[in-house]
């Protein structure tokens, strides 16, 4: 996976692959039974494979455009979306139960007493956290009058994790219970 870089523009290859995948997904929404879906999916794959050796980029782009238009006119108005995907029925359903990590500081002492090992080391853990290199890097790289974008800078040294990885690591569980 070392070559997958995100760029500002999609290549033709990426566009074709995206068209193929979404066509397959919408075909799946139309053809409910798997054996019929498999039949039409093979036909679709054959249609894509017919032109895969096309070297003329103008013609290839025209084919892609025609493909996108055909997709647009034949798309399913309610495509199948996985329940946890954006637009699905249980997407973000448990957001209201997700609690950030700093709430642990607000627990009642009787509740903290249920986990003595963890809480005895927690202050030390927080000190280590503040001394972590990524906070220092972020403070060093942020301009004086505030950050310009929301994008975080990448790790500058070999083998490092990106800044604020702590918040990602200590994020709430996907299904909070």
């Amino acid at each position: 996976m070392k070559d997958c870089k995100m760029a500002a523009y999609l290549s033709h290859h990426q566009k074709v692959l995206r068209l193929y995948k979404k066509s397959l997904r919408h075909l799946e929404s139309w053809c409910i039974f798997r054996d019929k879906y498999r039949f039409y999916a093979c036909l679709l794959r054959a249609r894509f494979d017919e032109n895969k050796a096309e070297k003329d980029m103008v013609k290839a782009t025209m084919l892609l455009k025609a493909g996108e238009e055909e997709f647009w006119s034949n798309q399913h108005p309610q495509p199948y979306i996985f329940p946890d995907s954006p637009g699905g029925t249980s997407y973000e359903r448990y957001e209201c139960y997700k609690v950030p990590e700093w709430m642990l500081d607000h627990w009642h002492p009787s509740e903290k007493a249920m986990y003595p090992d963890y809480f005895s080391k927690r202050e030390q853990w927080k000190k280590l956290r503040l001394q972590s290199w990524d906070v220092a890097q972020l403070e060093a790289e942020t301009p004086a009058d505030g950050p310009r974008t929301e994008a975080l800078p990448p790790a500058r040294q070999e083998g490092d994790l990106p800044p604020l990885w702590w918040q990602f690591v200590t994020r709430p569980r996907e299904r909070p219970m």
Partner: protein, 612 residues
């Protein structure tokens, strides 16, 4: 006091106390038991159900009805507002049914929501909703009905938005509130008219004094209120969106109890409606349109809950048609039988959804009959009851409605729409059963799917028993308020059954065509119309705000700025004076001949005036 009415009154007040007690205990700061929801709330509702059977049996045996006025709330010299409970034919039958259905749903919800950290709050909300519903149903005056009406609306908002981290759930909750509010405008209009013209909100006084009035305006208000609450065409989009809430909420509120509040209001006001042909026709046509439109939308939906939601909306349209036929008791019977099988359909859907790890799309279900035989059997029973299969619950209410529609000479168009909707009911019911229960599974293997938990199976079984025998029980034991039409040609009598069978045959043919999949996409235009819900939500949800914004912009620009500055203010002075100035100064250019001509002209006019 007569012992019968004493027993009646006592049991009815006991029901209120039993339901209110768990809610009141939540006000104390002491922490609640972990199983408070099951032991307190469900037990309270179950006990209240058994207590409510006593007035029901007294009513069935002796025909006892009671009106209890217990508290003078706001009494002026001319206007009284009391806490007044009416236990007549309608509320005595509805309250046990609502409590029975709620009991089953609460037991199911204890399983469905067991992993939810705020399950106790969920049960509290459901209980507050139930209390508001009972207040609405037993209200003897419009004010109390309004309290119940708003109460169920607010609880609906809170329960639809239960998972408030989800944007769609918040949108759906807001949608429910806004559409219900539009309906409330009608209700408040009707209440205001009644307060000013009939000088009372008490039902008995209203029915007596309204005889000499033209009631079109308040009845229109009531019909608008029912349109909002009962999701009739025009104010219906909130009901399918309300499926964002957890399945127990959909089962209780948006199928059995809350959505029938609008129809119940019209049933209560039926003595006022029955003499107003305009209101009756409006109900008939609105109901027919609703039932067909929503049945059409249900045909191509893929979310199991949305199909059942549209089915609910279609049946509500049918109830509205019945009101339009001046048969409120048939509408009420349909409310009662519908509660059973619709709640059961939702519970079966919830059981299947939970087993499949929150999968709601019927395209990814299948073969559930092997995995959850009880649930899928009850799904089939519920669907059969919904379509009006002879001698199940739905038959006893749906068939008389269609017969009454056939034998009335009112509106052939409404009849056509309703019969078409009845056949569509069979189509989408078969579609659900076909994709969910039959065939092979179209999902990956998950954690073992079973029905070992009695908390799932027992409520569904209970409601299945209700779906089978409720129609027979109610029609055998309760004297109808109006004589039903008895004699008609066989074709009219069998019309509903024929149309349903035709729909079933069409559905089977469509299912076999789906199995063959001769082409990838169906005919797109009708499919898109049905799937996108007639394009009604996108149009209305964009058109109305756009209209408001354009109006606001026009007011801000043209009314305020332009009026005060240009038309009425400084610029107006300028623009009105400059032409005068220009004309006057142009006339005075120093041209003698012009002056002389004008002078002679004026002289001639003056001379003519003097001489005449």
């Amino acid at each position: 006091m007569h012992p019968t009415s004493l027993m009646m009154t006592t049991s009815l007040m006991t029901i209120f106390l039993l339901l209110a007690y768990p809610v009141l205990t939540t006000l104390s700061p002491a922490p609640r038991a972990a199983d408070w929801a099951l032991t307190q709330v469900k037990a309270a509702v179950k006990l209240a159900f058994f207590v409510s059977l006593l007035p029901l049996f007294l009513f069935m045996n002796e025909g006892v009805e009671a009106i209890i006025t217990s508290w003078n709330w706001m009494n002026t010299l001319t206007f009284d507002v009391n806490l007044s409970l009416k236990f007549d034919h309608y509320s005595i039958i509805f309250v046990p049914i609502a409590l029975y259905v709620t009991w089953s749903i609460l037991e199911f919800a204890a399983w469905y929501m067991h992993a939810d950290p705020f399950m106790n709050r969920f049960f509290k909300y459901l209980l507050v909703f139930l209390i508001a519903m009972v207040v609405l149903v037993t209200a003897n005056n419009m004010f109390q009905l309004f309290i119940g009406w708003e109460g169920v609306g607010i609880m609906s908002f809170l329960l639809i938005g239960w998972w408030y981290g989800r944007a769609d759930a918040n949108t759906a909750a807001l949608q429910a509130v806004v559409y219900n509010r539009v309906g409330d405008i009608g209700l408040i209009l009707a209440m205001a008219w009644m307060a000013t013209n009939l000088n009372s909100w008490e039902m008995q006084q209203m029915f007596v004094t309204a005889k000499n009035f033209d009631l079109t305006l308040p009845l229109l208000g009531l019909i608008v209120a029912a349109t909002g609450k009962s999701a009739q065409f025009g104010l219906h989009p909130w009901l399918p969106s309300a499926m964002e809430g957890p399945t127990p909420v959909s089962a209780l509120l948006h199928s059995s109890t809350m959505v029938v509040a609008g129809i119940f209001l019209l049933i209560r006001m039926s003595p006022l409606i029955e003499n107003n042909p305009a209101a009756l026709t409006l109900c008939l046509c609105l109901g027919a349109l609703t039932t067909l439109f929503t049945a059409t939308c249900a045909l191509t939906q893929n979310d199991i809950k949305k199909i059942v939601a549209f089915s609910t909306s279609s049946q509500l349209g049918l109830m509205m048609v019945t009101i339009g036929l001046n048969q409120p008791q048939l509408a009420f019977l349909h409310i009662c039988t519908h509660a059973f099988f619709k709640a059961m359909l939702f519970l079966c859907s919830g059981s299947i959804i939970h087993s499949l790890n929150d999968e709601q799309d019927i395209r990814k279900m299948g073969g559930m009959h092997h995995l959850t035989p009880v649930t899928s059997s009850c799904l089939t029973i519920g669907s059969l009851a919904l379509t009006g299969t002879p001698f199940l619950a739905g038959f006893f209410s749906k068939d008389p409605i269609i017969e009454a529609l056939n034998t009335s000479h009112l509106n052939a168009w409404a009849l056509t729409l309703t019969l078409l909707a009845t056949s569509f009911t069979a189509v989408y019911s078969l579609r659900v059963v076909f994709f969910v229960s039959m065939g092979h599974p179209r999902f990956n293997t998950f954690s073992p799917i079973n029905e070992n938990n009695p908390m799932v199976v027992n409520p569904i079984k209970r409601l299945a028993v209700g779906s089978i025998i409720a129609g027979l029980l109610i029609t055998s034991n309760v004297i109808p308020l109006k004589t039903p039409v008895m004699s008609m040609p066989p074709l009219l009598k069998l019309a509903a059954l024929t149309v349903t069978i035709l729909g079933l045959m069409v559905a089977l043919e469509l299912a076999s065509l789906t199995n063959k999949q001769l082409k990838t996409t169906p005919t797109l235009a009708p499919h898109h119309f049905s799937n996108m819900l007639g394009f009604f939500p996108p149009i209305i949800h964009r058109f109305t705000p756009k209209l408001n914004l354009v109006l606001g912009q026009t007011i801000a620009n043209q009314l305020i700025d332009q009026t005060w500055l240009e038309k009425a203010g400084p610029k107006a002075l300028v623009s009105s004076n400059i032409p005068l100035i220009t004309t006057t100064s142009n006339a005075q250019q120093g041209m003698i001949k012009t002056y002389l001509a004008l002078f002679l002209l004026t002289l001639t006019f003056a001379a003519l005036l003097v001489s005449y």
